[in-house]
Amino acid sequence: MLKSEYENMINRCVRCSICKWIPQVQIKNQEHASICPSIDFYNFHSHSGGGRIILALALEMGRVEMNEKVRDIVFQCTACGGCSIACQYLNTLDPTEVIMDLRRKLVQEGVGPMPKHQAFMDNVIQSGNPYGEPRKARAEWLEEGIEIDDSAETLYFVGCTSSYRRKEIARATAKVLNKAGLAFKILGSDETCCGSPLFRTGEDDQFEKIVERNVAMIEKAGIETVVCSCAGCFDMFRVEYPERASFSFNVISTAELFNRLIDEGRLKTGAGKDITVTYHDPCHLGRQAEVHEHWEGDVIEVMPIMKLNIPEKPKRCGAGGVYDAPRNVLEKLNNITLVEMDRIREYSYCCGAGGGAKAAFPEFALHTGKTRISEAESTGATCVISACPFCSTNLKDSIKESESSMDFKDLGELVLESLGRDEKNFDGMKEDMEGKHDES
C-alpha cells in the first residue's frame, strides 16, 4: 500500500463496527454473526479492524507511542482479512492492509514482532522452516511407494507444516497425484519456507529475500506448475510473490488441481465411507487468495469534496478466492454429503491459527478454533474438511480441547480415501485412513 493510500485510509474509519460482523445481509443467526476472532476474544474495540485503524491514526498523530502494548494489539489478530471484506461491502477501507503495515512499522522500529515470532523468524532464516527442524529432515514424510519424478515440470511445494507437522497431508497429496498419473517432483531438503510466517509478522526484508530465492530456484528447475497443499504457501505464491518478483510458472492449489483431475477422469472416486462433511474455507485459500488488482487512473474532483476514480477502483473483497473448487471436489466424491456452515466463502470465520496467533497467543487461537468447531457441529456434519495444514493443526487441537466428536480431514486425505485401496499404496493409505497421523 502506498504511503498516501495508508494515510488516506487511517483517516477515514467511521467507527460503524461493520468490520466486526460478516456482511450484514449474510447474517443468518445471532451466534454466527461475527467475522472478527480478535474482537470476539479480546472484546475491546481496539481489537477490531476499525479499532486498529484508529490506533494507526493515533500513532500517526503522535497521540500514542509505539510500545509493547501497541505491539500486542496489532499482533493479537489472525490477519484473516474478515474485517476488510465486511468493510468493503459498502466502504473502501482495508483494515487488514493497515494491520500489515503496522506490523512492518513495529518491526522496523524494533518494537515488534512478538518474542515468539522472533524465534520462528530466526528459525526460518537459519533452518528454512519456522519450527527449527533440520533441513535434511524436510522430506522425511516421503514413504515407500510414493513416486517422485525428478524430470517433472510440476513441483509439489510441500510447505513447512506439511513437511514436519502434518505429514499425512503431504503423503495424501502425493498419493493422489500418483494415482492421477501426474508426474511431479519435490525440492526435498532444498525446499525453503514460502515466507508466509515472515510476511504475516511484518518481517518484510527477510520475506523479500525468500521470495527471490524461491523464485530463482523454481525457475532454474524449469518448473511450469507449482502445486500447493498449504493455503498459506498458496497465498504467498499466488498473491504476494507477483508483487515482488516476476516469474513464468503457474501456481495451483490442490483443491483446484484435484477438481481438474476428477473432471479429466484421472481420479476415479467413490470408494470411501458415506459421511456428512462441512467445509472450512481457509482464509489464505479463500478471501486472502484474491490477487491484488493494481489500479491506475485519475482522481477527478467531479465537484468540490467529491472525488471520482476513473476508471473505478476495484475492491479487493475476496471474490477471487478459491471457493468452488473444493466444493466441486466434495460434490464429485459420491459418498460425501456436504452441509455448509453459516459463515463460508469470503465471509468464512477464521480457524484461529493465522497471522502468528497460534505461536504468540495460543489461548486466543484455541478459542477461535473452538468457535469454528462449534459452528461445524451445528451443521450436523461429522467431519470438518479443509485444505490447509495450519487450519488442520488448530482445528484438530480445538476438537480435542472441546472434546468434540468431530473428525477433521484435509481435502487431500478425503480424496485419497475415495480413490480406494491399491497394492502399491496400501500400507500408507491404511495408516492414513485409520487416522494414525504424525503429530510430531
Binding site: 477515514r12 450484514q24 443467526n29 474495540h45 498523530m61 461491502y89
Partner: protein
C-alpha cells in the same frame, strides 16, 4: 488526561475482573475516536480532529450487577461514566477528563422472544441484524434505527433517537420500548413498566406501575447515557413483512438476492415538495407501505449503489427532484395484491410515473437491504462523511418547511466548497407509524479529512440550529449538552429546567457524563463562583 489513582483502579478491577478493564493509553485513545467527533470539536471551537478527551479507563461488564458496581465505584472515586453499546457516533465519547467508558459489548444476549405477545427482550450489544435473523425464524421482524442493522437496538430504544427506514410500519425506537432494566447513575437498579410489578413481573408493558417513567427515561431523543445505564429492554416486534425466504448467492461485491415473495419497490419523482407531501400523506393514510421515504435524487441513487461511481451512473434517479421511495410488502398474496392495487391507484391519482421496472431496475440485493435496514450506510459512499444537520420528528408540513428552509442555508456552504453540491436538497424524510408523525434529517456530505470541509459542516449545523430556533422549525436532533439546552430552553417553554430537574433527582452529583444531556446545576459562566 487525568490519572486514575490506585484505589479507583483496584475498585474497577474488582467490579469487572482484571481482563475486563483497561487503563492502557493505546486502548483508551481508540475509545476517544468517533465518526463526527471532528464536527463536534469544530462546533465547540476546538481543533477539528476525530478524537475527544480520552477516557481514564474502559470497563467491559457482563452483568447488571457488575454495571451497578462500576457506577458505585464511579461515585466513590469521583469519576464520571459514559456507557456505550455498538458505539457509533460522538455521543459515545467522554466530555470530561475523569470519565470511564462502560463498553457493554459482553452483554449481548437475546433473553426472550415472546411470539404470542410480540416482544423480545435484549441486552445492549444485540444488533438489529442479529435480532432480526432470530425473529425471522418465528415469522417476526423488529424495528431498526436508520444507522443500520449493525447497531444496538437497546441503545436506540432507551437512549438515542431511533427513526429508521421501516418506520412507517415499525415505528421508531423510542415508541417500541416496553419493560426496562435501568441502572441509575448511583448504581441503584430501577425496573420500569410491568417489569417493576412486585407480583409476576414481566416485560410486556412499558408504563407503570404507578406513573410512567418512559418519558423521563428518554424523552424524545434520549439522554445518551446521561441518566444511567440500560442493561435490558423489551421491545415490540412485528409480523415479518413478506416471505421469510433469505437466499443470497454470488460473491462480494456482486451479491444476488432471491427476491422473496410479496415485496416490491416503487419510486417516483414528485418534482415539488408540496406534491411530495400530498403523496406521502396519501400513501401513509392508506396504510400500505413497509417503507416510505422522501429523498433527494442523489440520495436515492446512493441507496442503490455501493460506490460513488455507481451513484454517478444512475442518472435516471439522480436527476429526480423530490423522489419518494416506497416498499410495498404483504404477509399473504392477497394482502400484497391489495396494497399493490392501492399503490397503483395512488400512482394514477397523482399522475406519477413509477421508474422501477421501467427506467430503473434495482439490484436484487437492494431488497435484502430494505428488509435489513441497510440503506443508512450508503450515505457515506460519496464523500466518506455525512452528517444530519437537522433532524426532528414532526408533522409532515413542518418537515417540508425544514426541508425547504435548509436549501438556501446549505447552498451557502456549498458555494464555499465545504459541503458537496446536492443542490441543497439532500434530505431523508420518512413517515413514522403510518403518518402519525414524520422524521426529517437534512444531510450534509463532507470530507472528514479536510479541515475546510469539517469547519463548513460544523458551521452549517450551528446555523441550522439557529434557523430552527428563530424560524420555529422545531427542536433539532442534536441539541445536546448544557450550552445548547440553555440556549433553546428559554425559547421552548423552558423545557431545559425540567430536564435539569430530572437530572438533579437521578444524578445529583453528576456521575453520568452530561456532555450529550444536561448537568444537574446550571453551567457556571467564566469567573462565576
Amino acid at each position: 488526561m487525568m490519572n486514575l489513582d490506585e484505589y479507583a483502579r483496584e475498585a474497577l478491577i474488582d467490579a469487572v475482573g482484571k481482563k475486563n478493564v483497561s487503563f492502557d493509553e493505546a486502548i483508551l485513545e481508540v475509545y476517544a475516536y468517533n465518526w463526527g467527533m471532528e464536527v463536534v470539536n469544530s462546533m465547540h471551537g476546538k481543533e477539528p480532529i476525530p478524537f475527544s478527551t480520552p477516557p481514564v479507563a474502559v470497563v467491559l461488564p457482563s452483568t447488571t450487577k457488575e454495571v451497578s458496581k462500576v457506577l458505585r465505584t464511579c461515585k466513590k472515586h469521583d469519576l464520571t461514566f459514559k456507557a456505550q453499546s455498538t458505539g457509533l457516533g460522538p455521543w459515545n465519547n467522554p466530555s470530561r477528563d475523569n470519565c470511564i467508558i462502560i463498553d457493554l459489548r459482553q452483554m449481548n444476549h437475546i433473553l426472550k422472544i415472546d411470539e404470542r405477545n410480540l416482544f423480545a427482550v435484549i441486552e445492549p450489544y444485540v444488533s438489529g441484524a442479529q435480532l432480526q435473523s432470530e425473529l425471522m425464524k418465528h415469522g417476526l421482524n423488529c424495528h431498526m434505527p436508520g444507522a443500520g442493522p449493525q447497531v444496538s437496538l437497546l441503545a436506540s430504544s432507551t437512549s438515542m433517537s431511533g427513526p429508521g427506514f421501516t418506520s412507517p410500519s415499525t415505528g421508531y425506537s423510542g415508541r417500541n420500548v416496553l419493560g426496562v432494566e435501568w441502572v441509575l447513575p448511583e448504581g441503584e437498579v430501577l425496573k420500569l413498566g410491568s417489569l417493576g410489578l412486585s407480583n409476576e413481573p414481566d416485560w410486556f408493558c412499558g408504563d407503570g406501575p404507578g406513573p410512567s417513567l418512559r418519558g423521563v427515561m428518554r424523552g424524545l431523543h434520549g439522554a445518551m447515557s446521561g441518566n444511567g445505564v440500560f442493561t435490558r429492554v423489551a421491545i415490540k416486534v412485528f409480523p415479518y413483512p413478506c416471505s421469510t425466504e433469505w437466499e443470497i448467492t454470488g460473491d462480494l461485491p456482486d451479491y444476488q438476492f432471491k427476491k422473496p415473495d410479496h415485496i416490491e419497490f416503487y419510486m417516483f419523482d414528485c418534482s415539488k415538495y408540496k406534491k411530495g407531501e400530498r403523496v406521502m400523506r396519501a400513501i401513509e393514510e392508506a396504510e400500505i407501505s413497509f417503507m416510505c421515504s422522501m429523498l433527494s435524487g442523489f440520495g436515492a441513487a446512493a441507496f442503490f449503489s455501493n460506490s460513488l461511481e455507481g451513484v454517478i451512473d444512475k442518472v435516471t434517479i439522480a436527476r429526480m427532484r423530490v423522489p419518494i421511495l416506497v416498499a410495498i410488502t404483504g404477509r399473504t398474496s392477497r394482502q400484497f395484491q391489495y396494497r399493490q392495487e392501492v399503490m397503483e391507484h395512488l400512482i394514477s391519482k397523482f399522475k406519477l410515473e413509477n421508474v422501477i421496472g421501467s427506467k430503473f431496475t434495482p439490484p436484487s440485493i437492494s431488497y435484502a437491504e430494505a428488509i435489513r435496514n441497510n440503506f443508512g450506510m450508503h450515505g457515506f459512499i460519496s464523500t466518506g462523511g455525512v452528517r444530519s444537520a437537522h433532524g426532528s420528528m414532526e408533522s409532515i408540513g413542518m418537515c417540508m418547511n425544514v426541508t425547504k428552509a435548509n436549501i438556501p442555508l446549505k447552498k451557502k456552504y456549498i458555494k464555499r466548497e465545504q459541503i458537496a453540491n446536492d443542490f441543497g436538497e439532500a434530505v431523508w424524510s420518512t413517515s413514522i407509524e403510518r403518518g402519525h408523525m414524520y422524521n426529517i434529517e437534512a444531510m450534509a456530505l463532507y470530507d472528514q479529512c479536510d479541515k475546510h470541509s469539517i469547519t463548513g459542516v460544523a458551521g452549517y449545523c450551528i446555523d441550522s440550529n439557529e434557523m430552527d430556533l428563530h424560524n420555529h422549525l422545531g427542536i433539532p436532533l442534536f441539541v445536546e449538552g448544557d450550552e445548547l439546552h440553555d440556549h433553546f430552553g428559554p425559547e421552548c417553554s423552558n423545557y431545559h429546567e425540567w430536564l435539569r430537574k430530572i437530572k438533579q433527582i437521578l444524578d445529583p452529583t453528576c456521575i453520568a457524563d452530561p456532555g450529550n444531556y444536561i448537568s444537574p446545576g446550571k453551567k457556571k459562566k467564566e469567573g462565576e463562583t
